[in-house]
Subunit: 373 residues, 2 copies
């Protein structure tokens, strides 16, 4: 069995997000793992399903629905998904998907290269839907693809906003792409496939389940450079996506709303606890993950400027690579400072002319020999 | 001239917030400074005004308006104002007021002991006014006095909310208390004086000016344990109060709102840049400055728990006094961590049973001998 077939078979036999099987695949390769699952002695909970896999049937269903199957190493495979290999587990799940079925003309790797996830409540308010849709359209006008889950409410509004631009939008499904869920969004999802992509790690014929939604959320988070949560009540699936985003080192942004609005509870809590950066619109997202087109400031004497920095400012400055660009999320991780704090410091030290906003991130105004180098 | 008279005369002769005169008073005492201002050779910009001061006239006007004059050292003088002696200047202003005229039956020191400032835009929305009023009433029901500036919009809503409770509310004026400003709030300010206090460092007969509003804002900030900014457009006087609060080491909270609302621009920016903590209601304020009535959690083995803390968590834990209580703002300062981050960590380590919420702040679950002690 070649690698592609083995990966397809694993998608059919093993529930998404299973860390034990994912780890085994990383160590022994997909063919060996699938073969071992099929052994009568495997005692695996997947044994029965592994034995029942019929790839001919799966391929026929995929062809009928114009789906393609991509695996790690393919040109279209987004490198970003590999971050799931090392990310923290969430609710005992995790791991790089064995492969993905895609439907649509867009190229997944290209679309995901600068994508932003917009997620939130199904029971969204008109306010939340309008923010999600405006945000998606605004990001689209900057050439940024929007990833979401195709659900009612915020997800649908985000896809709609993105569809108003010419940029692909990506809907990651928790079931097979032969009948995208929910049925009420069938027309929307067909348009998503027309301009962007439907994505799933489940083969045609499989239905969404609660655990598949949770595993699906890790793909939304990992495929994006940042996740924006627009509205979510305290118990909301969107919080799970936020956990995945944090687990794989992605920036989380949250949109505030009226304090009386139950659907703003989660965004407010995330912002208050410094788990998310407050987001009021496109510029807040761009500042974290992409170009804003700032003018480089003047360049006064570097050493004098460094002497004036306080400890946190120096930590932020020292987090910069000598050459090249870095985004605010990475600076925050390296400097060990909360992101909100980091953003304020980036503003301050850019005003002093030490750093500037480049094509795709922050950079030093000039490569310097560091003190102590 | 005795100290009280000298201070009253300084209030009449010198514009509020003048740092040079305040510093001189701290060094040479009010009588010597006022005498030197009156000398023909003083070359002081205050000379003409100092010579014109007639305390008999001032006292008569104060008596007529039932005002009293309090100075540092009086029982009713709030110690909190002394923080202005060492606080950073804001727009070149600063300093402890020479004295204060008060109108109303409440005791200023007692009311200010657990007061919260609520400030914001005069051009507030119905949303902002309702949040300000609910917040003030909620704080009042916890025995917390509300300080504001008596202006239209957020200020008025905050005083109104506070008046619905039995707790004093404090309106700090930028002119003399004989004709509180703005005239349209005369009835409201009369009710404030009836249940709480009107406060001003300007003698009767003086009118508000732009710089007096700015100097007044430092009193609002310093009289309160925290300042909550409810709504403010980008160019708003409320931002000045926030600067004062930060300058004298007070916690700043900001209330989010719809992202399209111009009056939520400043709160959103302050939250995003970690200059303010997001506030959705009374519990967020209480958690920072007063009791929340949390149940003390269980007490597992302390040493094992300490080993499990990461660097930031340990910094927060180490910020605690061995005995007694501390508020989150103080923890944040001591640990050198942004307040939002600090709040999240306080939650985490309280779940582990290392700290708990006491009568008026966070404390160690049991006084411990620290590692390294």
């Amino acid at each position: 069995m070649d690698e592609r077939d083995a990966r397809m078979a694993l998608c059919c036999a093993v529930e998404p997000g299973n860390r034990a099987v994912t780890a085994a695949v990383a160590e022994y390769g997909p063919a060996a793992v699938f073969a071992s699952l099929c052994k009568p002695s495997s005692r695996s909970r997947w044994e029965r399903r592994a034995k029942a896999v019929d790839l001919t049937v799966v391929r026929r269903a995929a062809d009928r629905n114009r789906l393609r199957f991509v695996i790690p190493g393919d040109d279209e495979w987004p490198e970003a998904l590999d971050d799931l290999a090392t990310g923290e587990p969430v609710q005992e799940m995790g791991g790089v998907p064995f492969g993905l079925w895609l439907k649509g003309d867009a190229d997944l790797a290209q679309a995901a290269a600068r994508a932003i996830a917009i997620v939130g409540s199904r029971a969204a308010t008109p306010y939340g839907r309008s923010v999600a849709s405006d945000l998606a359209a605004g990001l689209g006008s900057h050439g940024i693809a929007v990833v979401s889950g195709g659900a009612y409410g915020i997800d649908a509004a985000a896809h709609e906003g993105a569809l108003a631009t010419s940029v692909p939008t990506i809907a990651v499904m928790a079931g097979g792409l032969d009948s995208p869920y929910p049925p009420g969004n069938a027309a929307l999802l067909q348009r998503v496939a027309g301009q962007g992509l439907l994505v799933s790690e489940l083969p045609p014929g499989e239905h969404p389940t609660r655990s598949r939604f949770l595993a699906r959320n890790r793909l939304i988070a990992a495929l994006s450079r940042a996740t924006v949560i627009v509205e979510a009540a305290w118990r909301s699936g969107a919080r799970n996506t936020v956990s995945w985003a944090s687990a794989c080192g992605r920036v989380v942004l949250a949109v505030p709303g009226p304090v009386h609005s139950a659907t703003s509870t989660t965004p407010h809590r995330l912002i208050r606890d410094a788990e998310a950066v407050l987001c009021t619109g496109v510029p807040d997202v761009l500042e974290l993950v992409g170009p804003l087109g700032r003018q480089p400031p003047g360049r006064p004497d570097q050493h004098r400027l460094l002497d004036e920095l306080n400890a946190d400012e120096l930590a932020v400055y020292e987090a910069f690579p000598a050459r090249g660009e870095i985004d605010a999320g990475e600076v925050s991780l390296r400097a060990g400072l909360a992101l909100g704090n980091c953003l304020a410091i980036l503003d301050r030290i850019s005003e002093r002319g030490l750093i500037e906003y480049g094509a795709a991130g922050w950079k030093l105004t000039r490569p310097v020999t560091r003190t102590g180098d």
